[in-house]
Symmetry: C2
Subunit: 449 residues, 2 copies
């Protein structure tokens, strides 16, 4: 028996909703290409050896196997799994194709990923991500840690999704502070701080003491530092000094974070702030880290995250340090659709329905539709030669704004009348020259509030 | 140990090749939207109950399971598999969302599918397909069986892939002929005829006798009919009559096939021919069937196939007869790339590399790049403030045609000089007004031979 039902965590959109998603994807692609990122797609599967190489088993990888494979075959390193992000496949792609790429290599990648996590609002099992990354050879100039987040800020602003706030930090700053406080288990401290938003400072303090070897004073110091936000990082240095956490490492890293915030402030005022609580769960980040929320919709979680990674793309003596960010397209689109803040101007691409007077005369209507399409006007012919009232009703129900009535016998082949079914206005028209108003020509996506 | 290697059957393209694929996808989308098809994507997975409902187990379905799932869980009907085409998911989507759609519902869908078959030239395990379908409610006017193949012919012509030949047939014609010859096992006969191109007429004749219950004379008659090709189907009627295979059913179906060929001839002369050997393997087709080859590259197999299906999209008393065709995008693109008949004008989107005179002055270069992008000109800044010769070399290696040198201190912020590194010509330019020649503005894909 066939099961016809939605699958939790596997979102699908109606056509008018898909038009909104396409608008988002088009806007992202346009922005990325203007900034010189080249398009890449990777296969959907990687060997488990690739997917699990960073110990990311908590990503809930989906394993893919042929139904007709020998059922006795064990899952091993060469078993294929669906990728859970676009960074790991990109790392493999760069290592595999390095000889054909020019470095620093900038690419964008817009593709689906899969994670077997419990579905929640804005968190899916199958989802679209849009990533930009740049990787160098052996070295990667620091300015890319400023450039790439600004590309994403521009992309989000072009999407007109309302105000966004990008919170940035630097793993080197955090590590310097943690070590400056005399704590050795940096990973343990980061893991605890990463949960701040979720479980609150009291519980994080408890974890720091119980699992990261912190004294009560050290835990309090970590929490005090993690609470620092803003655009003036002198506060960090001052607080670190007062806590006895200052160090050469901190003095070396802090100006870079300040420079990132300053550069962003100059290009996109009020968007980017430093936030020492942003540490990102992934263990491959080694420099700047980024998280981005929609202002007033922080409950959705980050819609654009990433960071710098020095050792992810490496094999033997080959090393490609990189920096990248990823926009959660499905998360963003699901919220846009839920809020109804943007919508397609009509549910179909079609601008004009060409009426059919008689099935025997369908060829005349087809010719009219062809003439319109040849000038870039999306046109369809009526399904059947019903009474005109019914054909108009079909256009109305479909969301097609214009109906073109071809002339009868004796009329020029492309002549007729066109009716705007919203206003009821009907005028003489020739399919070789008539155009709808520019705003009706193509299905568009517009802000509704 | 991480495995860095291509996976047979899972194609990936270099950035300049991906640009070609994107050009194909853009052209298809543009064509489909001009014809009023609305965009739909479906999830990548379906329950096995859906995927196997037509007994399509030979499609080599990939099963998808969480790595951390209970290993004792048996594969059953609710186990998820990756879809092997876009028709089965679309059928489920229509049944699931019928209440939100207007019928006849026309949609296009451009997405990946997966089949665990043995990879060959042009036959992949992961591949992109581009489908158009229209489904009605209870009935679907016959003209859609003419309209949709012509949409695909137009799409292929817009792709400029060289001459194509679409071979069409009608399952009702074939069934009438088979029954007219006194054969009962229609499916058996079709299965044998479907192998004509692969195993030749002698072997097909043998199969007809051995497995489809045909006498020698009946097998010969089937082969004689299957050899009929052309645009004038009077030959079919004459041959059927001479073989004693004429019937009312044939007389009813043949004019529809003739009308399809005639309509196609009027719109796209020389492209569509009737071919009684085209029967399509899938058992859900009930009317017109289509296959399309690149002329002179028939070895690639069909690049666009489909047909009419009356019973695929149905559940209980709900029935949505449909017709659809699918372009094998990966197959087509792999051949275009292999032949080198089309290519991107450059490997990256970037038109202009803005040189950096001094790292301290990078902000000036960033501002120039921003000014260019604001006018739709893809621009990037140089990775490092190396000697200009090295920056020009980086542009050259990357395939970026222009290098913009910002003015020094005292110059207007957006003033400088721009060099066409192909001709060596260098002129004064202002980033607020200078544009590259129109043909260099965007990365394009052009025919090379």
């Amino acid at each position: 028996m066939a099961r016809i039902a939605p699958l939790s965590g596997f979102p699908e959109w109606l056509p008018a909703e898909r038009a909104v998603e396409l608008h988002v994807l088009d806007t992202l692609r346009e922005t990325f290409e203007l900034h010189g990122f080249a398009p890449v797609e990777t296969r959907s599967v990687e060997p488990l050896s690739q997917l699990l190489r960073k110990g990311e088993i908590d990503k809930e990888v989906y394993v893919v196997r042929r139904l007709q494979a020998d059922p006795g075959t064990e899952v091993d390193d060469s078993t294929l799994g669906l990728h859970f992000d676009l960074t790991v496949p990109f790392a493999r792609y760069v290592l595999q194709n390095g000889g054909h790429l020019t470095f620093p290599f900038k690419r964008y990648q817009i593709q689906r990923s899969w994670r077997g996590e419990r579905p929640q609002d804005g968190r899916f099992r199958e989802f679209v991500q849009a990533d930009v990354d740049v990787v160098g050879v052996d070295v990667l100039p620091r300015h890319y840690e400023v450039d790439l987040p600004l590309v994403m800020v521009e992309a989000l602003q072009r999407l007109d999704v309302g105000a966004v706030r990008m919170r940035v930090n630097d793993r080197r700053v955090v590590e310097a502070l943690v070590r400056g406080l005399g704590l050795e288990d940096v990973a343990g401290v980061l893991a605890a701080v990463d949960k701040l938003a979720k479980i609150g400072p009291a519980a994080v303090g408890e974890q720091l003491r119980a699992r990261a070897g912190a004294s009560g004073a050290q835990a309090d110091a970590v929490l005090a530092l993690a609470a620092v936000q803003g655009t003036d990082l002198a506060a960090v240095q001052a607080l670190a000094d007062s806590l006895g956490a200052g160090s050469d490492a901190l003095a070396a890293a802090l100006p870079d974070l300040q420079a990132l915030v300053d550069a962003a402030e100059a290009v996109a005022p009020g968007v980017v702030v430093a936030d020492l609580a942003v540490v990102r769960g992934l263990d491959y980040y080694t420099g700047s880290v980024y998280e981005t929320e929609l202002v007033g919709q922080e409950d959705l979680g980050s819609v654009c995250s990433g960071g710098r990674y020095d050792d992810l793309v490496s094999e033997g003596s080959v090393r490609h340090p990189g920096v990248g960010l990823s926009i959660g397209v499905s998360r963003l689109v699901s919220r846009l659709l839920k809020d109804g803040t943007v919508a397609a101007t009509r549910p179909v691409p079609t601008a004009v329905l060409v009426a059919v007077t008689d099935e025997a005369d369908r060829g005349r209507s087809d010719a009219v539709a062809r003439a319109l399409r040849a000038r870039g006007i999306p046109a369809d012919t009526a399904p059947i030669a019903a009474k005109f009232g019914r054909q108009i009703k079909h256009a109305d129900r479909s969301g097609i704004p214009f109906v073109f009535f071809p002339g009868g016998e004796g009329a020029a082949p492309l002549a007729g009348q066109v009716k705007d079914i919203r206003s009821g206005e009907q005028v003489d028209a020739d399919a070789a020259s008539w155009s709808p108003p520019e705003e009706d020509r193509r299905q568009r996506v517009v802000r509704t509030v």
